[in-house]
């Protein structure tokens, strides 16, 4: 098997012929979707490898494709493929190939699939997905500069914008920038050594096919980065509510922290103008080396009509620490998948998440922590508030304590506050324990505000409305207080207060 041109979306082939056509590299795609569904190639065609940009069209024949391929998925994948330049660097090309291969047998999730039982993705399926092309905007036209003084890198619709970033000198040896611009051989070698064979879901693979670039954050061995690094994701392209078109972006980040390194990262997703529609489908992979520490803050404030799907994949080596603090308030459909894989003993994992619906939104957190080594310590707290009668929160918290994860200490707590009639929350905390010498706990509570506490306020002269607001805010405070950076904490506090009390001056 040679060349960078592995077959991608030869929608004319059945699943069998995909593997055979791998040995004779062929790149075929069609632009017409109705043709692609029902055409097939009986013999793969070898194209001219000297001119890799040529796409070869073949005469369609009328064999239906295998039932494994979802035509809608293939259609999106083709659209993505067409929107990207065909030449790119080896790591990115490899990513595209692996992801596209997976997509050939991944259907669009339905409500019958457990991971999407409570999450309705039909509005995505009913839209016309339009991958966003490289932006050509002027920096002055967007409010991009962070209001903090922290080193910031801006990612606009999935494209890294160096001209919109303010990256001060971080510690020596630290690299923050596009994977395609890495000059250091050593770093490239390390990145190529790291290979994730993780298969997320359809959206993970779509990102693999559609991402134009990968932002690499590399922290060398023993390096403790003092400044907090902010990754600011901005949505520029959008459509109006009611339009069928849905601009689609696929930002991707790889954070590689070597042994003994330390870094604190903030991912901040800011929506475009209010009520705009777009779909942001992002992936971040974090490799925490032996004894390393990563603190990961995540703020999601997308437009209330946008779709936001995110994967956070983390690999923790022995004695490493990973701390994740999240506040998610935006998006019409917001789905966050967290997967943490322990690959060594004595790890520390802390997950603190807060989701809130103030309009007819869906806030969904699916987390999975896989422990395969002894003496891991983990603590997870998830809080959500549904403050709208059509709002919905979903939580699926899975912790797997496998055979060799003896003396694990794992705790999980979820608390939900339903503040309006017909507000909904679906929680599924699930612990799967195989090891027999462990300490695990989990708890879930769903309620309205406590009467006793409300009365205490009233007995001291504070009216019901003010008391409710104070109590609701304090519910969120348990998570918000955990942000390590004070300016981020303050920003989030103000934002939550505004959402809960829009009339406040």
């Amino acid at each position: 098997m040679a060349s960078a041109l592995a077959p991608i979306f030869s929608t004319k082939s059945t699943s069998v012929s995909v593997s055979s056509s791998l040995s004779t590299p062929t790149r075929i795609s069609t632009k017409s979707t109705s043709v692609s569904v029902y055409s097939s190639l009986s013999t793969p065609t070898r194209i001219n490898q000297k001119n890799p940009k040529v796409r070869v069209f073949t005469k369609p024949k009328l064999n239906p494709i295998s039932a494994f391929s979802d035509p809608y998925v293939l259609q999106i994948a083709e659209t993505l493929e067409d929107s990207l330049p065909s030449l790119s660097s080896p790591p990115l090309q490899k990513l595209r190939e692996t992801s596209s291969e997976t997509l050939l047998s991944t259907p669009w999730p339905s409500r019958k699939d457990e991971p999407f039982r409570f999450t309705d993705t039909s509005f995505l399926k009913n839209s016309r997905i339009e991958p966003i092309l490289p932006p050509k905007i002027q920096s002055s036209s967007l409010d991009v500069f962070s209001d903090t003084l922290l080193p910031t890198i801006s990612i606009l619709d999935g494209y890294i914008m160096n001209e919109l970033s303010q990256l001060k000198e971080l510690a020596s040896g630290v690299y923050v920038g596009s994977l395609l611009s890495v000059k250091s051989e050593a770093i490239l070698k390390r990145v190529s050594e790291y290979e994730s064979d993780f298969k997320g879901d359809l959206f993970w693979s779509l990102n693999g096919v559609g991402t134009p670039d990968v932002l690499l954050v590399y922290v060398p061995e023993g390096c403790k980065v003092e400044n907090t690094l902010v990754l600011r994701y901005i949505s520029g392209e959008s459509s109006d509510k009611g339009s069928k078109a849905l601009p689609f972006s696929n930002p991707r980040v790889l954070v590689l922290v070597e042994k003994g390194g330390e870094i604190s990262i903030v991912e901040e997703y800011v929506g475009g103008e209010k009520d705009k529609c777009y779909w942001s489908n992002s992936v971040i992979e974090v490799v925490v080396g032996e004894g390393a520490k990563v603190s990961h803050s995540y703020l999601q404030n997308q437009s209330l009509n946008a779709a936001h799907i995110k994967w956070t994949w983390v690999q923790q080596e022995s004695t490493s620490t990973y701390e994740h603090i999240e506040v998610s308030t935006g998006g019409k459909l917001s789905r966050h998948n967290i997967h943490i894989q322990q690959v060594g003993p004595d790890t520390v994992t802390e997950l603190s998440t807060f989701h809130m619906c103030i309009s007819d939104q869906t806030q969904d957190l699916h987390s999975r922590l896989v422990l395969d080594h002894p003496r891991g310590v983990s603590q997870q707290i998830h809080k959500c508030i549904v403050a709208h009668s059509s709002g919905q929160a979903v939580f699926d918290g899975n912790v797997q304590v496998n055979r060799y994860a003896q003396q694990t200490d794992a705790g999980q707590l979820t608390r939900s506050l339903l503040l309006e009639p017909r507000a909904t929350v679906n929680v599924k905390p699930n612990l799967q324990i195989i090891a027999d010498d462990v300490k695990c706990s989990h708890g879930a509570a769903i309620s309205d505000l406590e009467e006793d506490q409300l009365f205490y306020f009233r007995a001291r002269g504070v009216d019901v409305e003010t008391a409710r607001k104070a109590l609701i805010f304090s519910f969120a405070a348990e998570v918000v207080d955990r942000f390590p950076n004070a300016s981020i904490r303050k920003k989030v506090e103000t934002h939550i207060r505004e959402l809960l009390d829009p009339s406040r001056p």
């Binding site: 406590e450 009365f455 009233r458 002269g461 009216d463």
Partner: protein
Amino acid sequence: MGKNGSGKSTFAKVLVGHPDYKITGGNVSFKGENLLEMEPEERSLAGVFMSFQSPVAIPGVSNIDFLNMAYNAKRKKLGQPELGPIEFYGHIAPKLELVNMKIDFLNRNVNDGFSGGERKRNEILQLAVLGADLAILGEIDSGLDVDALRDVAKAVNWLLSFKNSVLMITHYLRLLEFIKPTYIHIMEDGRIIKTGDISIAEVLEKEGYKAISGT
């Protein structure tokens, strides 16, 4: 004063407007107004303060924020400008000394992880900060050691003036040694059956409630 179950705490809760109780008859006149027609927050702003026997904890709301909110509610009622956190802190720092509590106490969450004595002192601190025309102190002496009791009594005495009143619910003479009552009322089965001065307490101590009831 009165036996267990005579209705002392119920009476206090009804005065303050606790949602557990529904009034079926009668009225309460306070400074010329019918208290029973007022919402709990209105009663508090009118000048009624009740210290809770087991005050609820409010994790997530700090003592200083809670006091600030309550204080500003009062200021608003009086048409005065509200105090920001810093000015408010200046206002209450001396009151902390009154109840013998340290400054770091203000940053702790309301009654969260407090000992019994700390909760009671927190109630008195709230009284000192907010002021009241009628302070109802429900069994403020239960669970307090003798030093804490002395502190609480000192604070209450300081707060008492010719302009306001304190209604204390207690079982024992001990507290009455520190805070001298003008009147003592004995309750039995939800009714006040006797009113007198401190001499009643001495009779109770010697001979128990049997000596009073039915007399």
